[in-house]
């Protein structure tokens, strides 16, 4: 295969202060060949984005890029041309296109999308206006935008996130680049949309013989879409290999660590995750030797003897480690034995929380006089229960009402109708002292560890606040002792209690949030996306902490997340939500082994498994369209517009949640038995045909 881009020893530095500079990218060499999909994987701060931006000379002063970049069709080192030279401008956009994470900000809001694509074509291909327009429409069709002629004249705000990312792809590809860099391009999207966009990119790459670089932190995506992978850590490439080689025979301790730290959809639930100890490195404070040394379970004296070189471990397989392949394999044998089993936990039959037919409507106001023109049914008749000491997972795409459900349960919102029984008392009607008492037994962990902690309160007073509110301690000494204990429980050093939140890392902040939630000794904690803001290796630490705490303190969790692998790993039973309704409820293992509802099936198949063999063997169900807006709720089944089994009945009548035996419930006519033979058979044949 022909090499299109070759980067040699890129070093990108930024100033720390007047004297010192730190290297965000420290000697990265890589090459991109025609027609392959390359994965660049690493956690935040690993230098993966900076690497791709350095190649395009998108680093602004005071940042500085050194090294050499050779691009096919251009004479010599393109870094020597300078960032504003004509050649580099031709490379950017013309030869190498880039799409970014935020589809909201990368399009100009005051120009129509068509015009933006058209202008890009005119700049790079020098076509006349009319031809450029025809080509823009053609490109919009190619990226799967329905009715491109009409949508050509629309503004970015009239498109959904997924559609905007498609527009970005159309815009970049319109200039006929040879290389497309997708920098976390799907991270902000829902799993099903993410799968659609990456499938599209993959198809386009195959059709046009395009080279794609997928920059991501998600190992599953890499396993599904990439051909060749570079693993980055602390500004270095620590391992690179063909996909199958890398996943079958990972060598570098960090690659091993990453694979063990991520829960997998297809894995059993007997074992705990193996987190990578410590914190992600601070790029400004990296050691001159192996960057992974502090967190590496394999570390030895020899590792600190200067930087280690990349060595070849197999065909096309390179590793940067001071230890040889054999030494690592030998050590692995001894370390592997320590994988922890899940702690035993007791789930009692006692019901802790029961939600009965909960509805939450939000009014929509429009016009000059702010008249109420309708209602959004954010939560549309949900019933569920959580046993004491149990974890109930709630999954669904954005807009499905899972966060509204959490807020109703916490009584942050007053539900429109229905009951929320907590230990038999309806939270919806409680007031005053009774509500306060209920609040002490029910706490919450938030998604964003940055905004959920008061920036001006010390760690100690954040954690201790519930103790004071509920009068759980008698005096200062007892208060101090309890705060120290809480900090210790979540794995923080009690001497940090006088620090402010900003002095902690993201993972540590989330631990503070957990300690605060535990302070009032709750029976139940509502976890609203508690780990989605954290890095992969830190996620595992927090998940393990939550599991251990549950086993020890017998707390029930209502665990809300969009990451299905994580939900499966932690939950006993799982609720799948779609547009404010529950479509399926089942024990965790069973839901993943044999999902019933078509939506559950599609959702699960959209999540890639971080093992390419397993992922290849899984059935892929493509979901048509996108989640409809909650504003125009379909009359019948909310899912019927995207469902491949949809029947006439689905469009007029909403299916009820019905028991299917062995603890599972599903809201779908395909599984309706009581409704008569005829329907059952009809559903069955439809199923067979599809």
């Amino acid at each position: 295969m022909k090499t299109l881009v070759r980067a040699e020893h890129i070093v990108t530095t930024f100033p720390v202060d007047r004297k010192r500079r730190f290297a965000a990218v420290d000697g990265v060499s890589l090459e991109l060949r025609r027609g392959e999909i390359v994965g660049l994987v690493g956690e935040s701060g690993s230098g993966k984005s900076v690497t791709s931006m350095s190649m395009l000379q998108l680093i602004l002063p005071p940042g500085k890029v050194e090294g050499k970049v050779f691009v096919d069709g251009f004479e010599g080192d393109t870094l020597a041309f300078g960032a504003d030279s004509d050649q580099v401008r031709q490379i950017r956009g013309g030869k190498i296109g880039m799409i970014f994470q935020e589809p909201m900000t990368s399009l100009d809001p005051v120009l129509t999308v068509g015009r933006q694509i058209q202008e890009n074509i005119m700049t790079h291909l020098h076509l006349p206006k009319a031809e450029a327009k025809a080509r823009a429409v053609e490109m919009m069709k190619a990226v799967g935008i329905p009715d491109p002629e009409t949508r050509f004249g629309q503004y970015p705000s009239q498109f959904s996130g997924g559609m905007r990312q498609r527009i970005m792809i159309a815009m970049v590809l319109a200039a006929e680049p040879d290389v497309l860099i997708a920098d976390e391009a799907t991270t902000a999207l829902d799993v099903t949309t993410q799968a659609l966009i990456l499938d599209l990119i993959q198809d386009l790459a195959r059709q046009r013989d395009l080279t794609v670089v997928i920059v991501t932190h998600n190992l599953g995506l890499i396993a599904r879409y990439a051909d060749r992978i570079y693993v980055m850590y602390g500004g270095n490439i620590v391992e690179s290999a063909e996909k199958y080689e890398l996943f079958d025979h990972p060598i570098h301790p960090y690659t091993h660590g990453l694979l063990a730290a991520v829960p997998r959809l297809d894995a059993g639930k007997r074992h705990m995750l193996v987190p990578i100890e410590g914190l992600p490195p601070n790029p400004a404070d990296l050691p001159p030797y192996c960057k992974f040394y502090d967190r590496c379970p394999y570390r030895e004296e020899a590792c600190t003897q200067g930087p280690c070189a990349l060595y070849q471990a197999g065909e096309g397989h390179f590793v940067r480690c001071a230890l040889t392949q054999e030494a690592l394999a030998d050590k692995r044998g001894r370390l592997e034995g320590v994988r922890r089993l899940m702690p035993d936990k007791t789930v009692s039959q006692e019901i802790c929380l029961e939600v009965k037919d909960l509805r939450m409507d939000f009014p929509i106001y429009r016009g000059l006089l702010k008249q109420k023109v309708g209602e959004v049914h954010a939560v549309d008749g949900i019933s569920l229960h959580v046993h004491a000491g149990e974890t109930l997972g709630v999954v669904g795409e954005s807009g499905c009402g899972k966060s509204t459900l959490a807020k109703c349960v916490m009584r942050a919102l007053k539900p429109t109708a229905g009951q929320i029984l907590f230990h038999g008392e309806d939270l919806g009607t409680l007031t005053g002292r009774k509500l306060k008492r209920a609040r002490s037994k029910l706490s919450m962990i938030f998604q964003d560890p940055f905004s959920s902690l008061d920036p001006r309160q010390t760690a100690g007073s954040i954690v201790g606040e519930p103790l004071k509110i509920h009068g759980l301690v008698r005096d200062r000494a007892q208060y101090d002792a309890r705060v120290d204990e809480l900090l210790r429980i979540v794995g923080l050093d009690p001497t940090f209690r006088d620090r402010l939140p900003r002095e902690f890392s993201g993972g540590q902040r989330q631990r503070l949030g957990i300690a605060r939630a535990l302070a009032s000794e709750p029976d139940m904690i509502v976890c609203d996306e508690p780990i989605s803001a954290l890095d992969v290796s830190i996620q595992a630490q927090v998940i393990n902490l939550l599991i251990d705490l549950q086993a020890r303190l017998k707390i029930a969790y209502l665990f809300i997340a969009h990451d299905l692998s994580v939900v499966k790993h932690i939950s006993d039973r799982i609720v799948v939500m779609y547009l404010g309704r529950v479509v399926e409820l089942a024990p965790a293992e069973r839901l993943y082994e044999s999902p019933l509802h078509p939506y559950t099936k599609a959702l699960l198949s959209a999540v890639p498994v971080s093992d390419p063999h397993v992922d290849l063997a899984r059935e892929r169900i493509e979901l048509r369209g996108e989640v409809p807006s909650v504003m125009d709720h379909p009359a019948g089944c909310a899912f019927c517009g995207r469902c491949r089994y949809a029947m006439d009945r689905c469009r007029t009548e909403a299916p009820m949640l019905r028991d299917q035996g062995d603890g599972r419930q599903v809201a779908c006519f395909l599984y309706e038995r009581e409704a008569g033979e005829r329907d059952g058979r009809e559903g069955g044949t439809e199923h067979g045909e599809a």
Binding site: S451, I469, E503, F504
Partner: protein
């Protein structure tokens, strides 16, 4: 690594954070210059009777429009008053009116802003409309009217000038309280059952004051400028009292013959405003955590 963390934890708490704040504040040399300048003017204003060689208001008919001399370092004005002494007392007037006006405006504005944010609805609307109305009246017209009603003493001037900057503080406080009310940490405190007034005292107020402090520091310069402008126009501080603006106005006809008479008060005004702005910028940068290291 380990020891470093522990050593850092050992001297933690308020003292450490105060040091951190000061380090952040004076990190840029130019801020240090601004702060020293500001302190210099404040000291002069405080100890004006000691610094000034003469009574600034004593008229010496025989010694008008003198040049620089050992007796009168900057010469005398057209009534024979010592210019240097008048400038020293002028600093007092400028700083006193500027600071008082800002303090009143910031306090009243914050209070009204909190009221607007807390009650919302109709109260919020009325307060915002009132602010807009106040903004719509040209400030010179407004001050002229108020001077006519209240008279032009130093305190009155401060009150009058503050009325023009109150709307700014109302809006600022309202916006910052509203954004804090929507944040997760307020929700967290509410959900753990925190009472309403403690919520405000412990979480909302401490977090909403820093933008007010920053704009107040920057506002002092603006008010001083405004006071000089008004005095220049003759609707400022009452006549015999020394105000830089009034001195510039008096000296205007003598620009060609006695340049120092005009330039000296202009230079004082410019220097004070620049110093105050530099100091304000420094405070802003130091109070904004996003500009400081995350893991300091």
């Amino acid at each position: 690594m380990r020891e470093k963390i522990e050593a850092r934890a050992a001297h933690s708490g308020r003292g450490r954070r105060a040091r951190q704040f000061l380090r952040a504040l004076f990190h840029r040399k130019i801020v240090l210059v601004g702060s020293i300048g500001t302190i210099f003017f404040v000291l002069i204003a405080l100890f004006a009777p000691l610094v000034a060689p003469y009574d600034p208001n004593v008229i010496d008919k025989g010694a008008y429009l003198l040049g620089m001399s050992p007796l009168h370092p900057l010469g005398t004005d057209l009534y024979g008053r010592d210019l240097f002494s008048r400038l020293v007392f002028g600093a007092r007037v400028s700083l006193l009116t500027g600071v008082t006006a800002t303090l009143i405006a910031a306090a009243a504005g914050s209070l009204l802003g909190i009221v607007a944010a807390y009650y919302g609805g109709i109260v919020d609307k009325i307060l915002l409309r009132a602010c807009e109305t106040l903004d719509a009246i040209p400030y010179i017209a407004l001050t002229m009217a108020l001077v006519a009603i209240l008279g032009n003493g130093m305190l009155n001037m401060a009150v009058i000038m503050c009325s023009t900057c109150v709307p700014f503080f109302v809006r600022m406080m309202r916006a910052s309280v509203l954004s804090i009310l929507n944040s997760d940490y307020i929700l967290a405190a509410k959900l753990s059952g925190q009472s309403e007034w403690k919520l405000w005292l412990k979480h909302i107020l401490p977090n909403s004051v820093s933008p007010i402090i920053v704009s107040a520091t920057q506002n002092v310069g603006n008010t001083i400028m405004m006071e000089s402008g008004l005095s220049f126009l003759g609707i400022g501080i009452s006549v015999p009292m020394a105000s830089w603006g009034a001195i510039i106005s008096e000296a205007r006809p003598y620009l060609t013959t006695h340049p120092l008479y005009v330039l000296a008060p202009c230079a004082c005004l410019a220097a004070l405003i620049i110093c105050l702005n530099l100091f304000g910028d420094g405070i802003r940068d130091a109070l904004d955590p996003s500009l400081r290291g995350e893991t300091a």
